[in-house]
């Protein structure tokens, strides 16, 4: 999940402050210092000025930092400063910008993407050519890896993906390299949003070393990004990265980043208070207190001295998944009544100090904010809910709320239970351990279950297709509407940005009446930076822009 955010707010302020000049100076000074440590004629003062310092950043122990398997936020955070994918989403411009590629072209039918690459080298000096992208993408689909990757589905639209992942082919036929600088991607069906997929950190290039010494690469990946590994990933302890001096893009200001691995946000926050960590989460339940103490950032995404607390909307949603195959829940009137009975604002206010937003449709405002998106049944209307139940003889219906224990879901579900009982339903809670809960979801052994969806890429498609297409893997509610399927297929092929958006808005309304999911709230991040941080941007996708961050030195 997630994109880089070099183009974020911090970059703007950064540029105003004369980034180009200072970065060049820093780079020159840095090289100077490293080559002339013995000849102490000029370096003394320059060393001081050149030092960008080390930022200490809290993460949990990742699953993987090797691009072929980056899936959760922690691994992605590390991986995406080691590697650059082809393009990047700019939250400021709300558009894609070139990153590892110079430019791209999309064929008129939306099935062929041609990328022209920039001159760049990997951290080990190898050239970044089109073959290295092909190599990196094919690793996602390679079933012969010691442990096959779990994120191959991102490139499933590429022609030939299915053959490789099933073991029938050893290459993806849709990926070709006419020359060193040109990388061509052929899709098996039109998908205009595929550029968003190309921004995914997992779709990074890898050098030959990734195949030659896969075990070493796993713990110390060699990338093409602004930072390179400094030692290897010490599981449970830390990951250190340092600035890569031959980076093709803007040089980072920081000398190094120390990812401090802590077991939970509480421990991390204590270390933050002790001055051992520069960036971590504000603890839920103490967010307001934290904002008062550390000051609140103006835009919710950028840490600056004195305005260190971040509250920013994210591209993710918390919802109740309804099993539409269940005999009780298949009644659409019951789903309407349940959705109307839930006081979402109350959940947000009592449990999250009002920093999250009640959800009124499937698109978070940061993805698409349009008044036509609102779902009629996401309103809070107890009388109407009661009326629907009475009209259809549904009073006293028994429903079961399933959720995984821990993580604060008990509190949310208890409020929902209270709301539902207030309109005359009988509610049972079913709290399960995570592993057992997931099995129940997969087997369809639930009535209503809690789930969260964090966008893989900031597109409307990514909220619709995985959750509502009849054969999509993540469609836990077993929603099956031929009209919606057809509309999704049609929308995905529309190349024009505005037309495509309009099509997805229409699909959102098609789903609204069926309520296969009941939206509850949109997540917001709550993070805090230390006083040492001069500027640090944290994107709506929950990734820090460490390449553009700076410390006070």
């Amino acid at each position: 999940m997630a994109l880089d955010k070099t183009g974020g707010v911090s970059r703007r302020t950064f540029v105003k402050g004369g980034l180009a000049a200072s970065a060049l100076a820093a780079l020159a000074a840095c090289k100077n210092a490293s080559t002339s440590t013995d000849s102490s004629t000029t370096t003394g003062g320059t060393d001081q000025a050149a030092s960008g310092g080390t930022l200490k950043f809290y993460i949990n122990d990742p699953v993987a930092i090797d691009p072929y398997n980056v899936q959760e936020s922690e691994g992605t955070q590390v991986e995406h400063i080691l590697f650059d994918s082809l393009v990047n989403y700019d939250w400021d411009k709300e558009d894609y910008v070139a990153k590892a590629c110079e430019k791209w072209e999309v064929s008129d039918d939306g099935t062929e993407f041609t990328f022209t690459l920039k001159d760049a080298t990997f951290h080990n000096g190898d050239k970044v050519d089109s073959a290295s992208f092909k190599r990196g993408w094919e690793r996602l689909a390679d079933p012969k890896m010691t442990t096959p990757g779990e994120i191959g589905y991102h490139i499933s639209p590429v022609a030939g993906y299915d053959d490789m992942v099933s073991g029938a082919a050893t290459e993806i036929s849709g990926l070709t390299c006419p020359d060193d600088k040109t990388f061509v991607v052929k899709l098996s069906y039109p998908m205009a949003d595929f550029l968003a997929v190309c921004a995914h950190p997992g779709l990074a290039p890898v050098p030959q070393a990734a195949l030659d010494d896969a075990d070493a690469f796993l713990l110390a990946p060699i990338g093409n990004g602004p930072f390179q590994m400094d030692g290897k990933w010490e599981s449970g302890q830390y990951i250190n990265v340092k600035r890569f001096d031959d980076y093709y893009g803007d040089a980072p200001k920081l000398d190094a980043v120390n990812f401090s691995i802590q077991k939970d946000p509480d421990t991390a926050f204590r270390e933050f208070e002790a001055g051992n960590i520069d960036f971590c989460q504000l603890l839920t339940g103490r967010i307001k207190e934290g904002l008062e103490k550390y000051g609140e950032s103006e835009d919710g995404y950028t840490v600056t001295p004195g305005k260190q607390g971040l509250i920013g909307a994210e591209s993710s949603i918390y919802y109740l998944c309804v099993n539409v195959d269940d005999p009780v829940m298949s009644d659409i009137n019951l789903r309407h009544a349940i959705s109307l009975a839930i006081n979402r604002q109350n959940i947000v206010d009592t449990l999250f100090e009002g920093v999250r937003k009640p959800a009124d449709c499937v698109f978070p405002p940061i993805i698409d904010e349009d008044s036509s998106n609102v779902w009629e049944y996401c309103a809070y209307d107890v009388d109407k809910a009661k009326q629907i139940l009475a009209d259809n003889g549904l009073e006293g219906t028994e429903v079961t709320l399933s959720y995984n224990s821990g993580g604060g879901h008990e509190d949310i579900m208890s409020i929902v239970q209270g709301d539902l009982e207030a309109v005359g339903l009988t509610v049972t809670q079913n709290s399960q351990e995570w592993a057992a809960y997931l099995s129940g979801l997969t087997d369809g052994n639930f009535q209503i279950a809690r789930l969260g969806w964090i966008a893989d890429y900031p597109t409307m498609d990514n909220f619709i297709y995985p959750n509502f297409y009849s054969t999509a893997d993540n469609n836990y509610s077993r929603y099956n509407s031929p009209e919606v399927d057809a509309a999704i297929n049609k929308a995905r092929a529309i190349v024009d940005e505005d037309e495509r958006k309009a099509a997805f808005r229409a699909i959102n309304q098609q789903i609204a009446d069926d309520l296969p999911i009941i939206p509850i709230m949109f997540y917001a991040h709550n993070h805090v930076g230390s006083e040492k941080v001069e500027s640090l941007y944290y994107s709506p996708q929950g990734l820090a822009g460490l390449a553009s961050a700076s410390l006070k030195v």
Binding site: Y238, E433, L438
Partner: protein, 346 residues
């Protein structure tokens, strides 16, 4: 002697097979599919899930590594006994398998990187146990019924009854948080392990609280054993003889009583080393300690069976070897054991 050792080594086999078999059965009884767990809320597509099962030998494959299907078109799951044979076979070649959740990492690499931390922590804990346990026990015995004796008895009772993780949290609260607040950050002890090059404390500071927590219960027992042993020895005839010869009380204790009283305590502490390596799970979890215990805890909750099996296997072998060494040294000292005189075969 050689025959005795051989006999003991052969006895390893059933114990070892029994323990691993129990774990294998447990793995199949506990709910939750580790492969489905990998991707979390985002469901894996069918082909990827199958590829992962093939890679971990959870489905039957032909010689080319392609999955085999039954008539209904579903992949055939590898039966438990077959996986067990495979596991033991791999083990004999020193292969502990590959972790489920830590993409592509081998279990032996993971354990090798974790053991140094657990061993170092255990050594510090053993030192605390030896110094504090024996010291407190001696004071308690020598100044019997004094204030100090009562204090030691009281403290050891509390420590024995107190769960180690709770003690750990109390220590964190006091030394890591209250003390820091009270001194304005001037003095406090680190409460989470951070061995990064950027750690502000020298490495040793990180050991203090976890080692005290890990050592707490054993120290209490060591003190109690020391006290009772010393008291018992002091009542022996040869001590009375020594005193009758006119030696000072101090000389009697240091030169005559202590040596004999120490034997059971040292045996206890020696055996405790193995137990600490196994029992570090709670302590390491509380203190974010990057050792085998915390790794095992995480593996259990994420159903990462290869790591759980691997770490337990290593502990079983370790404890068996330590027991063997202890028993062999006893046998060496006491010929009755060697020749099969009644003795409990721990």
């Amino acid at each position: 002697m050689g025959k005795y050792i051989l006999k003991r080594v052969i006895q390893f086999i059933p114990v070892f097979l029994g323990v691993t078999l129990i774990l294998f059965v447990m793995e199949n009884v506990v709910p939750g599919d580790p492969i489905k767990l990998m991707a979390g809320e985002k469901k894996l597509d069918a082909q990827t899930e199958l590829n992962l099962r093939v890679a971990h030998h959870l489905v039957e494959t032909d010689e080319n590594g392609n999955a085999l299907y039954d008539e209904a078109g579903n992949p055939i799951a590898t039966p438990m006994w077959k996986r067990y044979v495979l596991y033991v076979g791999g083990l004999l070649q020193g292969d502990l398998g590959v972790s489920y959740q830590r993409a592509g990492q081998s279990v032996s690499d993971i354990l090798m990187s974790k053991y140094p931390y657990t061993i170092k922590l255990s050594i510090v804990a053993i030192i605390i146990e030896t110094v504090v346990g024996i010291g407190a026990g001696m004071i308690s015995a020598i100044k019997r019924y004094s204030f100090w004796d009562v204090l030691v008895t009281l403290v050891t009772s509390v420590l024995v009854a107190m769960p180690a993780f709770w003690l750990g949290m109390l220590l964190q609260l006091f030394f890591g948080i209250f003390l820091k607040d009270a001194t304005g950050g001037g003095f406090y002890l680190p409460i989470s392990a951070d061995f990064s090059p950027y750690a502000e404390f020298q490495g040793w500071a990180y050991y203090i609280l976890p080692a005290i927590t890990l050592a707490s219960v054993s120290t209490a027992y060591a003190a109690r054993i020391m006290r009772s042993q010393l008291l018992e020895v002091m009542n022996q005839d040869y001590i009375r003889t020594a005193r009758a010869k006119g030696l000072s009380r101090r000389d009697v204790i240091w030169h005559h009583a202590l040596k004999n009283a120490l034997i059971p305590v040292v045996t206890y502490i020696g055996n405790d080393f193995g137990a600490m390596m196994a029992g570090a799970i709670l302590t390491e979890t509380v203190f974010n300690w990057p050792g085998v215990g915390y790794e095992t805890y995480r593996a259990i909750s994420s159903r990462d069976w290869p790591i759980v099996l691997g770490s337990v296997t290593v502990i079983v072998v370790l404890v068996m070897v330590i027991n063997l060494i202890v028993d062999v040294s006893y046998a060496f000292l006491d010929p009755r054991i060697r020749y099969g005189a009644p003795k409990d075969q721990g």
